[in-house]
Amino acid sequence: MIIRAITLIFGTFILYVLQTGLFSSFSLAGVVPDLLMILVVSTGYMHGRIRAMITGLLCGFFIDCCYGNVIGVFPIFYIIVGNFSGFANKIYDDEDHMTPILLTAAGELLYNIMFFIVFYLLQGRTNLSFYIYRITIPKIVYTVLVSIILYRILRLINNFLLRFDKTEE
């Protein structure tokens, strides 16, 4: 359990640094892939709702600490996505690589809708078509592409950690 917690904090930290730091070399059409979203959704798929929500809280907290004017907005976004992705834990299959990718796309869409409502609609910006065409679609496509690789890595780490879980029990 402790090992998992440490891995989670470190994983979140590394993915956050990667997501914000590698922008200059890896951004396509002005967007960067949402690595934290992949982490949250994969955790939900592999471990269920509670862990996904805790991961989401951490992810959002990192973003808010560096970029938010108030702390707590992004954690809510990620917690909601984590909560919903956690339902998919019931159909978890170790060999299934397709479901988490679809879940990532759905999660990213949900996240973007919430982001649009809070940061666009409530600030009087209503240009939905621009938002969808220029931000949402590129971001979903890019995140899904990256999730194909990243999910495999996360699954490997998970299976590796399963050994520790067994020895602990």
Binding site: F13, Y16, V17, L18, Q19, T20, G21, L22, F23, S24, S25, F26, G30, V31, V32, D34, L36, G48, R49, I50, M53, I54, L57, G60, F62, I63, C65, C66, Y67, V70, I71, G72, V73, P75, I76, I79, I80, N83, G86, F115, F119, Q123, R125, N127, F130, R134, I135, K139, E169
Partner: protein, 298 residues
Amino acid sequence: MKPKIKNKPRKKIVINPKIVFWGLTVFCVILIVVSYRFSEVFSPVKNVIGSVVAPMQKGINDLGDYFENKAEHFSNMDKLIEENRELREQIDDLKNTNQILNQEKYELSYYRELYNLDALYDQYDKVAAKVISKDPNSYSGEFIIDKGENDGILKDMNVLAGNGLVGIVTETGSNWARIRTIIDDASKVSGMFLKTSDTCIVSGDLELIDKGYINVSQISLNAQIYDNYEVVTSYISDKYLPGILVGYVSDIGVDPTKLSQQCKLTPVVDFEHIDAVLIITQLREQYDGISEVFRSDN
């Protein structure tokens, strides 16, 4: 402790996820309220996380640059040779112009003395910094640099890239600082047309910048302005130092209220590929203080 675990199989605590969900949500809402009302409470936390993240981001950024450079290195050989030739020609050209400009500089300094324009912005002290991370949510127009309070960066300092205005420092940590660019929706800069001295407001627009523009509004109806006029920061701004180039205007027209003119502005800074910036380590208030002294001296 140990025998307890051995005797009975570890009791699994079952928590209803629903409760966790609502609990965390309420926790976040409280966080939002607290951090909004008392923003100082969280500034040490932000500072610590920022200081830990900043060097790592810097490292990763360098790594990314390295790979990018390597990739370019192999693909652009021919292009580089061609470019090199062109640049050499340009250098000869520039040398020539430089000489002429140097001669004119003497004249200019003489005229400046006459006009008392002692504090022009090429004389401000500047600190160079690298952009190490951008907001993970695309199109917010904010980024973080690798210099902070330790290097003398303070809130409200002006940021340049090349010879154009990038934005302003909005938050600082010990080794990082957050910058809001002029293209951000929340940004409003008090500007001035260099040729006619008419004032205007330059406001960021993340949708328009996609086409390479931002908005300029509240220009007097009497202002005689034309395309490609330069806009610089104005003397009446309380945060921006005067005379910093912002960009060139186009698409001039009367705004919907028919009370003022509006136009579009092409910033001189390329915000998409910005990776290094200069921070002027002089605040507007200090500048005003200095110019007061100058005025009273003369």
